[in-house]
């Protein structure tokens, strides 16, 4: 009896989840975290992140239509032109008209897609007019964030290392006996997606990220921004994001960087501008206060 109702409950939950995924797929509900049975990309939470989302959906739709036509034709051929139905093979092996047609039509489709992608890419590449700069440095296997400037004012000595939270780290050890499903913040499972000290940024602010690495190549990726970019030693890459909603956005390192590549997540907490100003003042106070002077200053990461 209990097991039966349990099963019923589980099926109900699966159906709800599926319905949610379907809704997210169709209506583009803002969904910041990966969720079970997720089928499609999230639209993200920045002013630019809809670009990859819509391109993805458009390209997928185009491919689906072409697929239905081509595979449809193929299945019709498979059913109509079977030897078992007594069909005799025809002799023709060439038709210039159709060949020209099926070379031209894809070109036209591609031009449309390329046009859409070009506009989106140009807006991504424009990092001018940013109101804030954060320097991101990848290390094996953690991230360092240094606040460079905010609203035209340079920020001194606000910087910290951000690494995997303790509970995830204990759980992920081989044979730890701990349950990944038990790693939760509130209702949300944060296994391998939580850090000890998240990056805090303000909402509705064009933030320029300058990204580099202190050892090997990493890649800084928060899906809610719509992009990832490699953190490469000796090279400083730049990208920008302007978050449209407050909240917590999670991501991971996306370039193989050694044994703990899977264990250096990224968490961005987006606060309202007022809350962020308070937080920033707090951090600056801490940094200058003598008792917390051991917070490492952003100097040692200039390697290369």
């Amino acid at each position: 009896m209990t097991s039966g109702s349990n099963r019923l409950h589980r099926i109900k939950r699966a159906v709800t989840l599926l319905a949610m995924s379907a809704m997210a797929l169709v209506c583009g509900v803002v969904q910041a975290e990966p969720h079970p049975w997720q089928l499609n990309m999230d639209p993200g939470a920045s002013t630019w992140s809809h670009v990859p989302y819509h391109l993805n959906n458009t390209a997928l739709a185009v491919c689906t239509v072409i697929g239905v036509l081509v595979f449809g034709a193929m299945f019709i051929a498979i059913f109509r032109f079977r030897k078992s139905r007594g069909v005799v093979a025809e002799k023709w092996a060439h038709n210039t008209t159709v060949e020209v047609v099926w070379t031209t039509i894809p070109v036209l489709i591609l031009i449309t897609l390329a046009y859409m992608a070009t506009g989106g890419l140009a807006s991504w590449a424009d990092t001018t007019g940013s109101q804030m700069t954060v320097k991101v440095t990848g290390y094996q296997w953690k991230w360092r964030y240094d606040y460079v400037d905010y609203m035209g004012k340079s920020i001194d000595k606000v910087g910290f290392v951000s690494k995997l939270d303790t509970l995830s780290d204990q759980t992920r050890q081989l044979g730890s006996g701990l349950d990944p499903y038990a790693v939760k913040v509130g209702n949300e499972n944060t296994y391998l997606l939580d850090v000890d000290k998240p990056l805090v940024v303000p909402v509705d602010t064009k933030i320029r990220f300058v990204i580099t690495s202190g050892d090997v190549i990493h890649s800084w990726w928060v899906p809610a921004t719509g992009w990832k970019i490699d953190a490469i030693p000796g090279i400083i890459n730049a990208a920008w994001a302007n978050f449209t909603a407050t909240g917590t956005y999670r991501g991971q390192c996306a370039e193989l960087c050694g044994q703990d590549h899977a264990f250096m997540p990224i968490v961005v907490v987006v606060k309202s501008k007022a809350d962020f100003a308070t937080w920033l003042a707090e951090q600056e106070g801490q940094a200058t206060a003598p008792q917390t002077a051991q917070v490492p200053a952003p100097v040692a990461d200039k390697q290369g």
Binding site: E33, P34, P36, Q38, L39, D42, P52, L55, N56, L60, C63, V70, M74, A77, I78, F81, R82, A89, E90, K91, A93, E99, P106, A114, M116, A117, T118, A122, A125, R172, Q173, L174, S176, L178, P180, Y181, N189, Y191, L192, V216, I217, S219, P223, W227, K228, I229, D230, P233, G234, N237, Q252, A254, E255, L256, C257, G258, Q259, D260, H261, A262
Partner: protein, 538 residues
């Protein structure tokens, strides 16, 4: 057939040499060397497959159950190296070795002794590479792409580099041999534009190999000197640039992708007309499309590097060039469908694998087109979406084409028919489980799961478990193939006819089954009606 009677002055050449060592280790016979390549490739398929099983077992559930993360990285790196350089490429070389001389009416490859050398290098190269698994520092764990600086941290870098040098030398010699054979050894009347498309695809592939394998050799040599001899090619501390390695690597790597798919196109272009009993649609367009794809493959490499921070102009150029590839590729797919249209089709195992190839390779092509769009690729890059994409083109693409070819020519090689029933069991298991294995990986990538990670958030658990189940069953299905091969070669009672397939056309089908040890010692007189593409001028 009167081949035995034509050359009695060379008595010693008619049978295969008697001793095992003389027959296989000292062979200069293209058929025996082809067989060696194919057996080697099958062995590597299972070794690389066992690494894949380890990967899927660790990913079966969230949490680390079976191995340390570093070992997981060794598995992903070795899986790729073994499958690419050990399974797929040697399989195509083996098929080329066996079939090219038969298809163009040549007595053997142009350089039979070099042929022996190019094969026998391979077991040593892989012994070197695989031995690292048993060493204290472990196997290479920086991915098959071996990006510095990470790859320079590995203690087995030198082994990997020397193994790649050996594989590269083997590939280059094999490619030279194939080009020399095709350009110089064709029977009179076998004009270039009458050659089977498989031969065309190999001719173009061989040029790609010669053009890019040395670039890889150069890149890994620089890794070696950076690690052991104090050079700074890729070391930013010494004024080098790690991104330059990626440029060279992918200048090799993208044509390499086509090295693994163009011969597959060739195979499918042989199999589909045979079982549709209708000539290939648009022969010239098919050849031209292969040449186009080969040319374009040289100018798209940076689409593997959209996230390294290229200048806007470069991103646009590589995006447009990449998108352009879908035009000739589309032409090929349309032409295969048009070949079936109006045909008189039967569905023996080779045809089933080729049909699955056309559909599933095209799905891989679709995700490839999506990835060409740079803004979307900012999301897809280095996620499971990419993993799904390249397994669709390499497993359900290249590997399915190889399986199709194996079933297609097996009766010609062994003289026996394989078991059609077990062939079909193998096919349906392969096609179903490959999709269960790889299709959910699209969803994982879109949901945000990075590739090359041994552990993941519980949100990714469902599809990973499905994918793993598909993986185990797909792996197990390939054992059926081994059974079919052994049965066909040693136990099958059903003798193959010379033509084998009702609709088969081309010189190889004019020979007896099994093909005698020496064939076409006297150039065949070619009748255009015998050729699959004897009349292409219309």
């Amino acid at each position: 057939m009167s081949y035995a009677a034509t050359h009695d002055q060379h008595d010693d050449h008619h049978g295969a040499p008697k001793g095992f060592f003389r027959r296989w280790c000292m062979s200069t016979n293209h058929k025996d060397i082809g067989t060696l390549y194919l057996i080697f490739s099958l062995t590597m398929l299972f070794i690389g497959g066992s690494f894949a099983m380890a990967i899927r077992a660790e990913l079966f559930q969230p949490g680390m159950q079976l191995m340390q993360p570093y070992f997981f990285n060794e598995m992903t790196s070795m899986h790729a190296l073994v499958m690419i350089f050990g399974a797929i490429m040697p399989a195509f070389v083996g098929l080329g070795n066996w079939m090219i001389p038969l298809m163009v009416g040549a007595p053997d490859m142009a350089l039979p002794r070099m042929n022996n050398l190019s094969f026998w290098i391979l077991p040593f190269a892989f012994a070197l590479l695989l031995s690292t698994l048993f060493m204290a520092g472990g196997a290479p764990a920086g991915g098959w792409t071996m990006y510095p600086p990470l790859s320079l941290q590995s203690s087995s870098l030198a082994y990997a580099v020397f193994a790649i040098h050996l594989m590269g030398i083997s590939s280059i010699m094999g490619a030279i041999n194939i080009i020399a054979t095709i350009l110089n050894m064709r029977a009179p009347g076998m004009d270039l534009m009458k050659m089977p498309i498989f031969v065309w695809s190999w001719l173009i592939t061989a040029f790609l190999l010669i053009a890019v394998m040395p670039a890889l050799a150069g890149a890994v040599t620089m890794l070696l000197t950076d690690k052991y001899f104090g050079t700074n090619f890729f070391n930013p501390g010494g004024g080098g640039d790690p991104v330059l390695y990626q440029h060279i690597f992918w200048f090799f790597g993208h044509p390499e992708v086509y090295i693994m798919i163009l011969p597959a196109f060739g195979i499918v272009s042989e199999v589909v007309p045979t079982f549709a009993r209708k000539p290939i649609f648009g022969y010239k367009a098919m050849v031209f499309a292969i040449a186009c794809i080969a040319f374009l493959s040289f100018i798209v490499w940076a689409h593997h590097m959209f996230a390294v921070g290229l200048p806007l102009g470069a991103e646009l150029f590589f995006m447009y060039a990449t998108m352009l590839i879908s035009v000739p590729t589309g032409v090929k797919v349309f032409n295969w469908v048009a070949t079936m249209w109006g045909g008189s089709m039967t569905f023996e195992t080779p045809m089933l694998f080729s049909i699955a190839f056309v559909i599933l390779f095209t799905i891989g092509g679709f995700s490839g087109l999506m990835m060409a769009l740079v803004p979307a690729d900012f999301q897809y890059h280095d996620t499971y979406f990419i993993v799904a994409h390249f397994h669709y083109v390499l497993v359900t693409g290249a590997l399915f084409a190889i399986l199709s070819a194996a079933y297609y020519w097996l009766p010609k090689w062994t003289g026996n028919m394989y078991s059609e029933f077990w062939g079909k069991v193998h096919f349906w298991n392969s096609v179903i489980w490959a999709n269960v294995l790889f299709f959910p990986q699209h969803f994982l990538g879109l949901a945000g799961m990075p590739r090359r990670i041994p552990d993941y958030n519980v949100a990714f658990a469902n599809f990973n478990m499905i994918s793993s189940i598909g993986g185990f069953l797909f792996g197990a299905s390939q054992l059926i193939f081994v059974g079919v091969l052994i049965h066909c070669a040693f136990f099958s009672k059903k003798k193959a006819t010379d033509r084998v397939w009702e609709g088969a056309k081309g010189l190889e089908w004019t020979l007896p089954s099994p093909a005698p040890h020496h064939t076409f010692e006297v150039p065949p007189v070619i009748n255009d009606d015998e050729l699959a593409h004897g009349h292409v001028d219309q």
